[in-house]
């Protein structure tokens, strides 16, 4: 019974899940494993994600799950006392401490395994997590996945195929449900669970699964074809794109044609125009950024050093306080002999931040007026923010 309630709670959430899917789905199609576990559903319900392949939303609904899926529908529609059948091996582990119900939504490490809360927060995906193995709310997962990708706003043929697949799957489930209803009426008592399925029911199930599989394959093929044909993002260009173009243009014409290595819009950071600049041209670039009438980035807001293990990177965030035009300028440098020309002569405020990066990451800043350690003691050995840093002091 609780199963039924949870599913009902879960259902309406599914479209919301789907809304968040597109980005993940597209990422996946473009072949990038960039997002770690791109499936939104996977993120929502880790327990489900662990069991199922974390990779693609399509893969989430494995054929097995789909086959079992109609059984679940039957369970939901009909028989309450199928209690034993409703045991969920995938139930979130109860090893977490009981807490505020809200806390589960926080995604805290010790979030409670409160099933109801899980259902509420995780939406359809959480429902999937609950049922995945035996019955298959995973069907709901399949539904979400298909629906999600359908809404992805990707190339048209792909989209149509997916919508079709979703429709077929739904139809198949309805058929199975009808069959189950029939079987239910005939069967006596609560034992009418998934095991004691009548023949027509099973046939319907198999048929549904086959159809769904075929539809999915078609969708996938279409997606691949569509992906190759139209890899372009349908998104409108960022409003900050002109800033980026203008700066790149200026840097190429005024500083050096090769000064810019990469230029992109960082969507995760409010569409920050991000430019990767060659170290040897950085000083000239900095001066241009600050003094050119169109750019006028007079305020240096932050400097960050990052150890990417293959190389080190220093990021300068600059902004024009009047026009609010801002840029993130990255300079990549060798890890063995890291050196980035200092920006302190251009923005005085770069002084301490550069010292901090020198101290913690070991990047040299030629041209810096006073390059000493700033946070660590002067006689410290090593640079703590390096990924391979090991403290020298045996007592530490």
């Amino acid at each position: 019974m609780s199963e039924e309630r949870k599913r009902e709670e879960g259902r309406p959430e599914a479209p919301r899940e789907a809304d968040r899917q597109p980005a993940a789905a597209r990422q996946e199609e473009s072949g990038g494993e960039k997002r770690g576990e791109p499936a939104a559903a996977g993120r929502q319900a880790p327990s489900a994600a662990e069991r199922q392949s974390p990779a693609a939303p399509e893969q989430q609904a494995s054929p097995v799950a789909q086959q079992q899926e109609p059984a679940n529908t039957q369970e939901v529609s009909g028989t309450e006392p199928a209690g034993a059948g409703a045991e969920h091996p995938n139930q979130p582990q109860p090893d977490t401490m009981p807490e505020h119900p809200e806390a589960s939504a926080s995604g805290k490490p010790a979030a409670p395994a409160n099933a109801a809360a899980g259902g509420r927060t995780g939406g359809g995906a959480a429902a999937a997590g609950e049922g995945a193995g035996t019955d298959a709310a995973a069907g709901a997962g399949a539904d979400t996945a298909a629906g999600g990708t359908a809404g992805s706003g990707a190339a048209d043929p792909e989209r149509e195929a997916k919508i079709k697949a979703a429709q077929e799957a739904r139809a198949a489930r309805l058929a199975a449900k009808a069959a189950a209803g029939g079987g239910d009426g005939a069967a006596s008592g609560g034992a009418a669970g998934a095991g004691a399925a009548a023949d027509p029911e099973r046939e319907a199930k198999i048929k549904a699964a086959q159809e769904a599989r075929a539809a999915r394959l078609a969708a996938k093929a279409a997606a691949e074809a569509g992906g190759d044909a139209a890899p372009a993002e349908p998104k409108p260009p960022s409003p900050k794109q002109p800033w980026l173009d203008e700066a790149v243009e200026l840097l190429k014409s005024e500083v050096h044609p090769e000064a810019v290595e990469e230029a992109s819009i960082n969507e995760l950071s409010d569409d920050m125009p991000t430019i990767v600049v060659k170290a040897e041209h950085w000083r000239a670039v900095a001066e241009l950024l600050k003094s050119h009438g169109k750019l006028g980035c007079n305020y240096l807001r932050n400097v960050t050093g990052v150890d990417y293990e293959t190389h080190l990177e220093v990021v300068y965030f600059v902004i024009n306080l009047e026009t609010k035009r801002e840029y993130a300028i990255k300079i990549r440098t060798d890890r063995e002999q890291p050196s980035v020309p200092s920006a302190t002569p251009v923005w005085t405020g770069a002084n301490w931040p550069e010292r901090e990066i020198y101290d913690l990451l070991g990047v040299e800043f030629p041209g810096h007026p006073d390059l000493r350690r700033i946070l660590m003691p002067d006689d410290w050995v090593g640079h703590p923010l390096r990924k391979d840093y090991v403290p020298l002091d045996p007592e530490v």
Partner: protein, 366 residues
């Protein structure tokens, strides 16, 4: 024949006027400072390094300990950064609670500064008044989240605790009370002859210098630059409220004092509006996955803390822990200008100038 010798003087690391462990190595010619070198790092705990092996929720308590006078805004900047990366929506009620505690925090933080600054300058009683009022705010925070200094109140997606029954009413009562008190304190201090003699025209710099040094907060606004991230790059729900950004004209210690004092009034103004519009019910946590894994990529978000622009730069590789977490701490950047300001000043002005910057060492060293 009278001969003067250069004197090397260590101020700190333990000195009452540094409000933390800051060491200043001064070269003195008589009573005039000829060179000043701040030495920092005594409070360096490696927060950024530690964060690389913690998940995002576990990092929140560390942010409390950076700027321990303004823990709420630090909480917010981290949560906000993660929310931005993951596209998490924060429920209305949580937004209001966040805004209310951040503005209360701003008042509390400025009160600490106000009291201790005047204490440094030799006025004992304002300190007692300031801490009396701050106590009220701290008690309200205590009711809300069970802590008086390190709140650990916000979470990615919302806030940890909803306001207990009657809490909002207490804040509502606090606002007019505080308005009245501020009036009194202004009369008590702001026109005081001795005070004016100590701060007027002291530690002066112009807007160009402030921008070049990357100053933020009242240190920037005292020169007339109207740059407040609450207004210029609105975050949370600040764009819904009316408030002014006070600016100075001379860029001296007195202007910094007046800017901060006026900011407390403006914060009360925001609080008043926020309490009026406070939603009577609703969730305090948004929909957040159980394991917080921002997508691979990076983001830099910044907000206006009582001390200026506090920023959080996250580089994520799609894991539960950040690959690199960098905090842009306003105190760290603001403190840079100190050596420049001190040269040519007398020892007595050192205290006035240093206090005027309003830095918190926990944040400088991080």
């Amino acid at each position: 024949m009278i001969r003067t010798e250069e004197l090397l003087l260590n101020v700190g690391p333990q000195h009452p006027s540094t409000h933390g462990v800051l060491r200043l190595v001064l070269k003195l010619d008589g009573e005039v400072i000829t060179e000043a070198t701040p030495v920092i790092g005594y409070l360096h705990r490696g927060t950024e390094k530690l964060a690389e092996s913690l998940n995002y929720t576990q990092i929140i308590p560390y942010t409390d300990r950076m700027d321990y006078v303004s823990a709420m805004t630090n909480n917010y900047v981290l949560c906000h950064a993660v929310e931005k990366m993951m596209g998490i929506e924060v429920p209305e009620r949580a937004q209001f609670l966040r805004l209310i505690v951040m503005e209360m925090q701003r008042i509390a933080s400025h009160l600490v500064w106000w009291g201790t600054y005047l204490l440094d300058l030799g006025a004992m009683s304002p300190f007692l008044y300031a801490f009396k009022e701050r106590e009220k705010i701290v008690s309200l925070f205590n009711e809300l989240c069970g802590a008086r200094l390190t709140y650990n109140y916000m979470r990615v997606g919302g806030v940890k605790w909803d306001a207990p029954p009657g809490w909002i009413d207490k804040v509502r009562d606090f606002v007019p009370y505080m308005e009245k008190q501020l009036e009194e304190y202004e009369q008590l201090v702001s026109g005081n002859e001795i005070f004016l003699a100590r701060v007027r025209g002291i530690g002066k710099y112009d807007a160009e210098t402030a921008i070049a040094y990357g100053l933020s907060g009242a240190n920037l606004r005292c020169t007339g630059v109207k740059w407040d991230l609450r207004k210029n790059e609105p975050y949370c729900i600040y764009d819904r409220f009316e408030f002014d950004v006070p600016v100075g004209t001379n860029g001296d210690c007195y202007d910094r004092y007046m800017v901060r004092f006026e900011e407390m009034r403006q914060s009360l103004r925001i609080l008043k509006q926020a309490i009026e519009q406070f939603p009577s019910s609703g969730e305090t946590m948004g929909k957040v996955p159980r394991v917080i894994r921002p997508p691979a990529g990076e983001t830099y978000v910044r907000i206006e803390s009582p001390r200026g622009e506090i920023g959080c730069h996250i580089v994520s590789k799609g894991k539960a822990e950040p690959y690199r977490l960098k905090f842009r701490r306003p105190s760290f950047n603001n403190l840079q200008i100190l050596p420049k300001l001190l040269v040519g000043e007398t020892m007595t002005n050192l205290i006035a100038i240093m206090g005027g910057i309003d830095f918190v060492l926990g944040e400088v060293d991080c």
